[in-house]
Symmetry: C3
């Protein structure tokens, strides 16, 4: 891709040579000839060996290499990267070792890798990849252009949209965790619901999304989930939600569109996180709690400002205690003085 073509693709202003061939993206510091890099601030791009830069609109450095002015360089960089580094192209195949039910329906140009299983009446959409060891159960529906990485498992009856990426070891649709105590034993509450994962969702390695107990667990369109995340039964996650690693969402909780949840957050059951709420890492949300838009932190969660104020207050405790001691001393002096009178 030539620098001029990239400029056109990004609708960015090109300063410098338009015919340089760009083959890949790279970080500014480690870029070499043939690479395009980006900078987010208009500061010095000194010493890079990149062949082209994506820069902010107010970039004014005197550099010898061509650059592209754009409003959001990081976004532009990601868009260019998606073209220069497309997802791996796996030639269509159904591996000899794959165990595909006769009643399964496979789309065109699917990649069905070694040691995969496709259950009865399952559907796999066009150009979807089931990589080695991925297994999908009976009556599973998977859309087109998905990638199920090695050893992913999707249990019976779950539905996956288009352009979904499930990283290695993801488990979709295992039983939720629910029991009823009957004297000396725990009786399993039925876990006979399902999971629906909408289009453009990405779920990180070894994360788990349990099936609904009676209804469904749903992950909304464009939501991105990191590694080792736990999504319990009947959770409803909206669109474009972002959830960082090792977070756990308890049963029946609702995350509305565009929430951002940090890592290692725990959210109790039947809670609701409203649109645009941001919850900091390791925070804890109590069961049933409604978390309004804004930034939240701590366990139990508080608005970030309150949390910080409270933290500062706790840190100031030893001073407060000293003050109280001092007041006591003065008061005693006053009293003594008084009694001397």
């Amino acid at each position: 891709m030539k620098t001029r073509e990239i400029a056109d693709f990004l609708s960015a202003e090109l300063v410098g040579e338009g015919t340089i061939e760009i083959e890949r993206v790279a970080a500014l510091s480690s870029a070499s000839a043939g690479a395009i890099a980006f900078i987010e601030k208009a500061d010095a791009a000194a010493g890079t060996n990149a062949s082209c830069l994506i820069v902010p609109l107010d970039f004014a450095d005197d550099v010898s290499l061509p650059y592209l002015r754009t409003k959001d360089p990081k976004l532009a960089f990601a868009l260019v990267a998606a073209i220069l580094h497309p997802p791996k192209d796996r030639p269509a195949q159904i591996h000899d070792s794959a165990v595909v039910s006769e009643s399964a329906i496979l789309g065109n140009e699917v990649f069905i890798g070694a040691f995969t299983c496709v259950g009865d009446n399952a559907t796999v959409g066009d150009a979807t990849h089931l990589r080695a060891g991925a297994k999908i159960g009976d009556n599973v529906k998977i859309g087109s252009n998905c990638v199920l990485h090695p050893n992913v498992f999707v249990e019976d009856g779950c539905t996956i949209g288009d352009n979904v990426i499930l990283h290695s070891g993801v488990v979709i649709g295992a039983d939720g965790f629910g029991y009823v105590r009957d004297r000396e034993r725990h009786i399993k509450f039925p876990q006979i619901g399902t999971v629906v994962i909408e289009d453009n969702v990405e779920i990180g390695a070894n994360s788990c999304v349990d099936r609904g107990a009676l209804g469904e667990t749903r992950i909304g369109e464009g939501t991105k989930i990191d590694n080792l995340v736990q999504i319990a039964h009947n959770v409803q996650i909206g669109k474009r939600v972002v959830i960082a690693a090792q977070t756990g969402i308890s049963g029946s909780t609702v995350l509305e569109d565009d929430c951002v949840i940090g890592g290692q957050v725990g959210i109790g059951d039947h809670a609701r996180v409203q649109s645009d709420a941001i919850i900091g890492s390791q925070a804890g949300v109590l069961p049933g709690k409604i978390v309004r838009p804004g930034i939240w932190w701590g366990t139990p969660v508080q608005p970030l400002d309150e949390y910080k104020r409270q933290n500062a207050m706790v840190k100031g405790l030893s001073r407060l205690r000293d003050e109280v001691k001092e007041l006591r001393t003065k008061l005693v002096e006053l009293q003594d003085h008084k009694s001397e009178e």
Copy 2:
């Protein structure tokens, strides 16, 4: 199953028609004809389309559908669900692709799925299912009526009882985490013990139970463990314990019978949680700590009441600080007054 049969099965009082055919359980709000639902409080069951309800003893609504009065509707519902929705029936098979040692002993009616491995001298009890990709090592003993979901791994020498469910990605018997520092390197402390999982245990997806260093790690009868839980070497878990997702139990810790541990709890090594203790989510138990019966929360754990009182106190800190400031002002006034005298 007819309504009358369900009433008899539950020993519940049937009010209304006894001949309605019930095919499945459902949530009250989404139930349709042929479904049985339950309500836990004696409040309005208005507008459900279920064909039958399980209700508490004091239910007094005027509904047109048949209902069953019982002391614990949720339990009754779970018991009915277990009959209407039995675990998936997989016809007995040993898949062509399975790699089963000649010295392994397989019970009757076992399901040995695709891409499974059964090691030397391993035993698989009657009617146990090893689903696709499940692997059990040498000298593993698995009881009857177990289900090992896809990609479960049970390492050499571990023992699993009857009616055990291991969800997808569970790892039983990997090495525990123990090293001895030798100047510039960590020497592995031997991890040559084993794991014993008693009857009726269920372990959630991608959870890990490490083998004992020298002795055994044990999970007691009827204990239920959620997804992504970490059980370290030599942990001893009693009977009917419940552990929610993402909790970690460190080495040699003991959880006595009937404990309930929330999600994302961390329990240090050599601790002991006594029978009937309940530990809230995200709590932290220090190494060696004895947690007595009762409800506990926070890091380090405190009795719930103390934790709440302390939390309230922290929240009241700004008021306390204001009070101290006010006292100071008044004291200064008094002093000034005094010196004017």
Copy 3:
């Protein structure tokens, strides 16, 4: 191994019979004939059935069995255990079911188990074991004497050194978690870097090490990582670092040599933990924070002493509040007194 041979191997002083045959290691309390056990303190070894003991230099008990005096009995025990209980010897094989690319290069004496995959141009070093279901992608380099336990996955282009142990379910080189918001969607930031795992690293079951976004994620020589740990893209971990279970390290964070990180710790992105820092379980490190050598705990982390002092202060809050109340009462008395004058 005879007691005399063990003494020679450890350069330890043998007291007692040198010809006793020792077959295995065991815990002091459960040892039986043929076992060697160890004690760390010079206290009574009463009642053990071991055939030999490893004891500290100041051991002075009058026991009838032979013992070995050494400076660090636990280390000596681990060293002996490594000889008496060597890693499982799997005869070299390439299982019929393995899918090995023609361009892959396999070393001598490799064990390539059932249902494994080895990608194009991948290299597997001498005596390395890929156990059943382990999968390595294209251009992966794995050194010699490694064990990849069942269902491990190593993504394209990652590099693993010698003597590395990856426990069951480990995922190396999945995409990191990075997006750029573009109005109504999240665009994937390129995740095209790699992972380098140096020699003698051990990683616990179901842990994840993401590939670098543009550069590399690196785990240094001799580092040991427990189960269910999350290592994000571009993290740099030094040598001999120890990380306990369920800890998460966010993107681009650096852990210098010889750090020790407890379980369930969360470390924000772009942080740096300096050599010899020790971070207690469940602690939280803010993004960008530099953690100096010493012991740290809490969220956000503080030096352990400060954390304890602060905790004590919080616990003392109710007394402080009572004192303030008492001061107020006295002050009011004084004021009243004054106005009476």
